[in-house]
Symmetry: C2
């Protein structure tokens, strides 16, 4: 059997089952970041993302934006756990004939975003590789009482997204601003029960929350903010790389957030019993089951 | 100009020059690990290594040993800073048609070594890639007074290596045991002035110590322990991937280490003024200048 037979997430489940963890690990494999005991008030957050030519960008993508994206996707993982990014390592695989200017631009893109988010680039590795591949590892911190995981959604929670979804391929996947500020606003002012960043797509990433929290969800087509760049509603559900926050608040907390009328935070549905799985109420008020499918690597 | 024009280390120098670091970073780009302020007694150590098919292993290498190597090279970086490895992330790029058994074996190799060194695998990333590529990020800790960098070598220091050098390509590069225990023994019992692990080759890695410490060195062919697997002395100087410790102690400390007659620690030369560069005294007592060259990625 090849990897396509069980898929990326099937394979991650296999790795997770056999992982040995000591008591200093608050959260291991299976969330946006690992959370590790650090000091009295804070956890360390630890995450990495690998981006690869012809999967996440092409040979015609501006190398500055390739570098920018490599770090941005990692920052977005820290945002999903409501933390602050601090230290990054950059592992860079480049073809033998890579032009110095191209490599410099990748680094410039990483550096510029690092500066904006007050991140220290403290090391890395450089290797020859058949195609461009960048893996950024990011270390951050979060106040213990601010850490939000995928696993905390509860029946009755209201589901929210930040920003609009779909059509990211037209540019947003390279130029999005990771939602660090927005996540911090949320955890400072509300009790956020669960959160994830939308990388695989709304349906797939809501699926991750449902699986980890052992709950179901109903979402409403009329409520889901579709990006102008999106060609159709399916892109908002499945295309991914929106890097928006998807999160749930208890009903009272959710109503309080809505009362503030902050345009980027929109309610899109609610958490229900696990037995319902993931359902969409479409524009004609018809209910249908959604598969939590997203981008398939294998 | 392409990357070959300035080389891997020239490019790293360019990255380093433009890196912004805050006061929490004790050591950034340019050592085996980054060192970051952590708590009263300890620093965090943070490192990553990317290994790539057809550079670090081939499609015929046992996948268990590929996984093992991916983690081992990272542990060796922590050893070079005299720390303890704690938490790892594994970013894995695999071709579309990868067999599940092959992927499982990579993970098994990583897990088995992680268990042996008490490392928690806390997360990672999986992506499609044209060839197999693995980047492991490792977080560790070191007592503040035990941290050893490349930059502390002093004129008059005795230079030592652990184990023997050369011929690693015949198997050791896949099956070596990272020298965590040996490094700890050293820092607990001696004042180690500088240390590095030999990945690029004795000449290149001693060159890194000389550059960071702004000193020169004389080494003696008769004293350099050449592995049985090595075809000739040049392999011991230049072939690399020995993953042995290369370190320097002041003369009194070095004499004390020698008096203990521990077979794996061998003196190979001494640190001299920067003006001498790197010199070898050969078996005929002739002196020659060595170029600190090693494996070239570009």
């Amino acid at each position: 059997m090849n990897l396509g037979g069980i898929g990326e997430f099937g394979f991650i489940e296999r790795i997770k089952r056999r992982a040995r963890l000591d008591s200093s690990v608050v959260k291991g494999i299976g969330d946006d970041c690992a959370a590790i005991k650090f000091n009295k008030d804070n956890y360390l957050l630890f995450t990495c993302d690998m981006i690869v030519q012809d999967v996440d960008f092409t040979c015609r993508t501006d190398p500055y934006l390739i570098g920018r994206k490599a770090l941005a996707v990692c920052i977005s993982d820290i945002a999903a756990c409501a933390g602050s990014p601090k230290y990054a390592l950059v592992a860079l695989g480049l073809p033998k004939n890579t032009q110095l200017e191209f490599a410099d631009k990748i680094i410039e893109g990483i550096k510029a975003l690092a500066k904006k988010y007050h991140i220290n680039i403290v090391g890395g590795d450089i290797s020859r590789a058949p195609k461009v591949v960048i893996d950024v590892s990011l270390l951050g911190a979060v106040r213990k009482n601010h850490l939000v995981l995928r696993s905390g959604a509860k029946k009755g929670d209201i589901i929210f997204v930040s920003g609009s979804l779909g059509g990211s391929i037209k540019g947003k996947h390279l130029e999005f601003a990771p939602r660090i500020k927005e996540a911090k606003f949320l955890v400072r002012n509300f009790k956020v029960n669960s959160m994830i960043d939308i990388s695989d797509g709304l349906a797939a990433d809501l699926g991750h929350i449902l699986q980890e929290s052992k709950v179901g969800a109903v979402i409403y087509q009329r409520l889901i903010p579709v990006s102008k760049a999106s060609r159709n509603f399916d892109e908002a559900l499945y295309a991914g790389e929106d890097f928006e926050l998807l999160f749930t608040l208890s009903r009272p907390q959710g109503l309080r957030l809505m009362s503030k009328r902050i345009p980027i935070f929109r309610p899109i549905g609610e958490i229900v019993d696990k037995i319902y799985g993931l359902r969409l109420i479409d524009r004609n008020c018809k209910e249908k089951k959604l598969q939590p499918r997203g981008y398939k690597h294998f």
